[in-house]
């Protein structure tokens, strides 16, 4: 049992999520084996390591707070970790399940479950930062292997990385992709979305749907107006922003604004 004292102890916890962000650890290939030389996983259920109450140097948290149990667990995780890092859309903005925040969650629950009374759930799905102090956030749906690698690398140098908040458009231009808004009149969220995915959707000839969340200084209202100019009716404009990060304030403002418009139009 050679256990170097200097290894960083790590826990990976999951609240309400699809487990896709944890895969960024298991999908690393051989790099995972070298990662094991510098970190020791204390809790990582998907990899079979179980010690939920372990005190650790670093805890990653995936998933949103959508049940009373989530909330309780999150508080315990915070107390047991020196550094707490939220990973993925669910943890950073409430995720796709935060769409319920815009609706009457109870009615929705009745729509899916014949016995909603068996289900213990909160009315909303919220990001972890609304409940506890967070030391760093890795945005993305899903986060990437590169984000994890960069983060751990910076940490071993004794610092937290600079948050990546640049607009997707910048990365897209550097890749010399053809702009899908200009050439296809596609309602691309690139101008207001955080970089990090590698500008995948435009590269694939598709409009960005904002899975990395809002960028720095997002001029979402102006982009939404542009979508309207491209011929989208107001409900469609609202739907563009009501996808993966509907609870993120800049996107939520547009959902509420354009949804309201469509109701007035109908009236």
């Amino acid at each position: 049992m050679s256990k170097a004292k200097s290894k960083v102890t790590v826990a990976i916890h999951k609240l309400t999520s699809c487990s896709g962000c944890q895969l960024a650890f298991l999908n690393q290939g051989k790099a995972l084996l070298s990662l094991l030389e510098i970190v020791e996983f204390k809790h990582f259920i998907e990899a079979g390591v179980y010690e939920p109450d372990a005190k650790v140097d670093l805890a990653f948290i995936e998933g949103s707070v959508s049940t009373p149990e989530d909330l309780k667990r999150l508080q315990e995780v915070r107390n047991n970790a020196k550094l707490l890092v939220s990973i993925g859309a669910c943890a950073t903005s409430g995720g796709v399940q935060a769409l319920r925040n815009l609706a009457d969650g109870d009615v929705w629950k009745r729509g899916v479950y014949p016995h909603p009374e068996f289900i213990a759930t909160l009315d909303t799905s919220t990001p972890v930062a609304e409940h506890v102090k967070i030391d760093f956030e890795l945005w993305g749906c899903p986060i990437t292997v590169q984000q994890i690698r960069h983060f751990v690398q910076q940490l071993t140098l004794g610092t937290l990385p600079q948050p990546e908040m640049e607009k997707l458009c910048m990365e897209c231009k550097r890749q010399q992709n053809v702009c899908v808004v200009v050439t296809r009149q596609a309602p691309c969220l690139g101008p207001v979305t955080r970089t990090g995915c590698g500008a995948l959707c435009p590269e694939f000839g598709k409009a960005c749907y904002g899975c990395f969340g809002a960028s720095e200084q997002p001029n979402a209202r102006s982009l939404a107006n542009r979508f309207s100019g491209l011929g989208l009716v107001s409900e469609e404009v609202a739907q563009r922003f009501a996808a993966i990060h509907s609870h993120e304030p800049a996107f939520k403002a547009q959902v509420e604004h354009w949804q309201g418009l469509s109701v007035r139009e109908i009236e």
């Binding site: 084996l33 079979g48 694939f204 993966i244």
Partner: protein, 433 residues
């Protein structure tokens, strides 16, 4: 027995090494099982509600988020359901590329399951991470296969978790030659590793608690089925996806938030072993030859051979992928045009861990009025409980809690339940009355 009923409440940690989290509660009375519940506490994410009102175009990107381990299965099932409704006729090369991407998803999921989740049981470790020091080659072999699978998904979808390339009518873009060749190299390297994996799986000393159960999978005509066809049941019944709701009914119980699905009132199996049992004869001759060489026999009723079914599917998937890649990068359009139509549609595909069923009712603008999504885990849930019931009794209730827990976990893991489309687990709880 005149002594007062004794109640022992034991709490044993999570059933770990599931993708997601689950838990088991076992209540025994003397030598009988009083109650046995696989508990799945799914924080409800209400997909079927929030998809209502969404455009059919947005459905694949949203439904993918049900599961990070088999996102493509959710995307493709919804896309193909809508293509059925719209009457989209796909050219051969698009069908071939979708199959290639599907094979990639099977590969990455199976490789993850075998090497990270199941192998520690076999080598007597708590986790794959602990195995890294002693069995690095074993894990590296797994990573080689996993990487080949991920590369195929990335080739056609940009990334392996929540890929972006699929759409109604085909793909948003066809891959380029450089990436195609990169995949070819990875698949070539992984193929001998997968053959070794089949050999390895054939040498395992697997427990045998064979018993009768129904196997449900897609029905293939010429090839091993993955993303098209009717549904076949091992009792001889064949139905179309549209007839699914007539035969398969879901119900909810107090102890679990995942639904239970029953086929005409019976539990049933979906997944790799169900596929092998129903369609072994459709595998490529080379694959059958490898199975024969290492003495793998399908059909069989031993759930513990699921790991062999997965290993053989890995070899088969790589073998077929290599064939597709060697044909060269297809030319032609990335997608075909279609007209939106209103109406109902049903479709089933084979996710890595079993059959997925999707149903949509769309209006004339292509907006979702109603939908239903039945993942493999809720289909297997009743079967897992039945299996546990049968096997645990055979194993012996006089065994220690530790032995029982380990035994039950291993049985549950055979099904590779993707409880992330569900849960927060609880814990293994045994109550002796």
């Amino acid at each position: 027995m005149t002594t007062k009923a004794r109640k022992i409440n034991l709490k044993v940690p999570f059933v770990t090494r599931l993708e997601g989290e689950g838990a088991l509660e076992l209540t025994t009375k003397g030598n009988d099982i009083d109650k046995l519940h696989l508990k799945i506490f799914e924080p409800p994410r209400l997909f079927e509600s929030f998809l209502q009102g969404k455009s059919y175009k947005d459905v694949p990107d949203l439904s993918a988020r049900i599961c990070g381990i088999c996102p493509m299965a959710y995307q493709l099932t919804s896309i193909q359901a809508m293509e059925t409704l719209f009457g989209v006729q796909l050219p051969e090369h698009i069908i071939r590329l979708r199959r290639l991407m599907n094979l990639g998803e099977w590969l990455q999921s199976h490789a993850l399951h075998i090497h990270f989740l199941a192998a520690p049981d076999i080598y007597g470790f708590d986790s794959a991470l602990q195995m890294a020091g002693e069995y690095p080659e074993f894990l590296q072999r797994g990573m080689l296969i996993q990487e080949a699978g991920n590369s195929l998904m990335t080739l056609l979808g940009g990334r392996s978790v929540h890929p972006v390339g699929l759409q109604v009518g085909g793909f948003t873009k066809l891959p380029n030659a450089e990436k195609w060749l990169h995949c070819l190299t990875l698949v070539e390297h992984a193929l001998p590793a997968a053959k070794q994996l089949v050999k390895w799986s054939s040498e395992l000393e697997l427990p045998d608690y064979s018993h009768d159960f129904l196997c449900v999978s897609l029905k293939g005509e010429k090839a091993f089925p993955i993303n098209s066809g009717d549904i076949q049941i091992s009792n001889g019944l064949v139905i179309t996806p549209a007839q699914y709701p007539e035969h398969f009914k879901e119900h909810q119980t107090r102890h679990s938030t995942a639904f239970y699905s029953l086929l005409d009132g019976h539990d049933y199996l979906v997944g790799p072993l169900a596929r092998m049992n129903n369609s072994f004869h459709l595998l490529h001759e080379d694959v059958k030859q490898v199975a024969k060489e290492y003495g793998l026999k399908f059909p069989n009723q031993n759930m513990h051979t699921s790991i062999q079914a997965r290993a053989l599917e890995c070899f088969s998937a790589l073998h077929e992928s290599l064939g597709i890649l060697q044909q060269g990068l297809p030319e032609g359009e990335a997608n075909v045009a279609y007209d939106i139509k209103a109406g109902e549609c049903h479709f089933c595909t084979e996710a890595p861990r079993g059959l997925i069923y999707h149903y949509y009712d769309l209006d004339d603008e292509g907006k979702v009025l109603k939908c239903s999504i039945i993942p493999p885990t809720s289909q297997n849930q009743a079967r897992i409980e039945k299996d546990l019931h049968f096997s645990v009794k055979q194993f012996g209730l006089d065994k220690s809690d530790k032995e029982l827990k380990y035994f039950c976990e291993r049985i549950i893991r055979n099904y590779d339940p993707c409880i992330s489309c569900s849960t927060h687990f609880l814990d293994f709880k045994r109550i002796q009355k």
